[in-house]
Symmetry: C2
Subunit: 274 residues, 2 copies
Amino acid sequence: MKIFKTTKTTKEYLKNNKNETIGFVPTMGALHDGHLSLIKQSKEQNDITIVSIFVNPTQFLDGEDIDKYPHKPQADEKICEIAKVDVLFVPNEKKIYFDQETKLFAPSIKAYILEGYDRPGHFDGVLQVVNKLLNIVKPTFVYFGKKDAQQLYLVKNMVEEFFLDVSVVACETIREANGLAKSSRNTYLSKEDTLKALQISKALNIAIKYVQKGEYDAATIKTKISKQLKNLYIYYVEIVDKNFNYIDKIEINNTIVLVAVNINNTRLIDNIWL
Amino acid sequence: MKIFKTTKTTKEYLKNNKNETIGFVPTMGALHDGHLSLIKQSKEQNDITIVSIFVNPTQFLDGEDIDKYPHKPQADEKICEIAKVDVLFVPNEKKIYFDQETKLFAPSIKAYILEGYDRPGHFDGVLQVVNKLLNIVKPTFVYFGKKDAQQLYLVKNMVEEFFLDVSVVACETIREANGLAKSSRNTYLSKEDTLKALQISKALNIAIKYVQKGEYDAATIKTKISKQLKNLYIYYVEIVDKNFNYIDKIEINNTIVLVAVNINNTRLIDNIWL
């Protein structure tokens, strides 16, 4: 496995491999089975798989403690090596960002609801770094998890709006055996917190059952979910279509049910695609 | 000459010519000798030369009359044909812009002085469209005139900040025999206006002479220029280094002297690089 720390070495490597298909998995490190499933999918679809690890400062808001974000460089490197990643790209912040640079702003409505309502500006930073990374790596396919559904939606749109030559692949959420969606933030959870967190996937499963029984009313489904989450601090329980418009009626193949809660100061999100 | 109206046909053509070097001249049409010199330079340096004509709505502010911008599609096409342009790309606005899209914002200081002071947001729109066009055309070289010095500076920075694989070529300002810098806006000028406009290049030439005599004090040079322009409405007379920092002392090879005036409601800009 090659490990590159500069955009220059990465670009040079890619220049020498320009007839290969490139699969790209951008991450913030603290790799878990969710990331591994993205890597696996990339390996199946491409000649070369590149993983980047970059804890992107611009997607953390003032007061959000970026320094607390889990940081496990050695474990991450080992995981990538075992997963037969071809290139690990671990750029320094100064190689990615410039003083007083041109900035991307995510669209004013869709990026300022849900996750963007509680974290205004978060998606600006996400799109800024994703645009840069896509231009550096120029992948054939780029892999994002459905767990970060709003991010996936905004990235897909940006790719279209800026005519980037890459296919965005949406990958299924990976869960623990107990149903908890895999997340780097799960490391923050105590045993007790984890027990509480299990309510999230339970609530989403209850929603699935109601929909299977023919209940398509969004308000009713939201109430059922909120009831199941009654002991947690809920940021939101919302139902949107795939273009992130709020909807009243669930439409099969065009609905995402989204939940965000706070458990002991850890923000957890999860969703199901109906 | 091929004429493409959609990004799709353009991208397909480029895919079939991916081993050729591509020179790109983005324009807003109303082509003149300034554009022709960019095209000529592109033809010398590249296998394929692509010219785009797109009157970009996002770089016009509210109240600036985009509909008045000179529009000469047939003449432009003829000019490109005679100049042996390989591809003329004339996209429809709806092929370039999307509803509620991700937006680029030019850096808050350098894009909001000089041209950006009088036209706040103008450069946001310029960078938005240039980023898109560069991603569609993916040229080896892209050609911009030194006459739009601030635009050139901001585009160059954006290319670096977003890791776009293109070399930005700065092309000399082309002038009428009488010294007037070529501009699509010159068509707005009456004979009388043109006589007034000649003061601009005269003033800049006076500045050159003073500098050649050893006068490096920016304030003194600015006063000499303003004196020459005393009968015109001056937006600004400024002296900056190549990074668009205001400077007190002229430094040879690192100085741009910039002038913007209003003649009968036409904004004219010009500059010299010392």
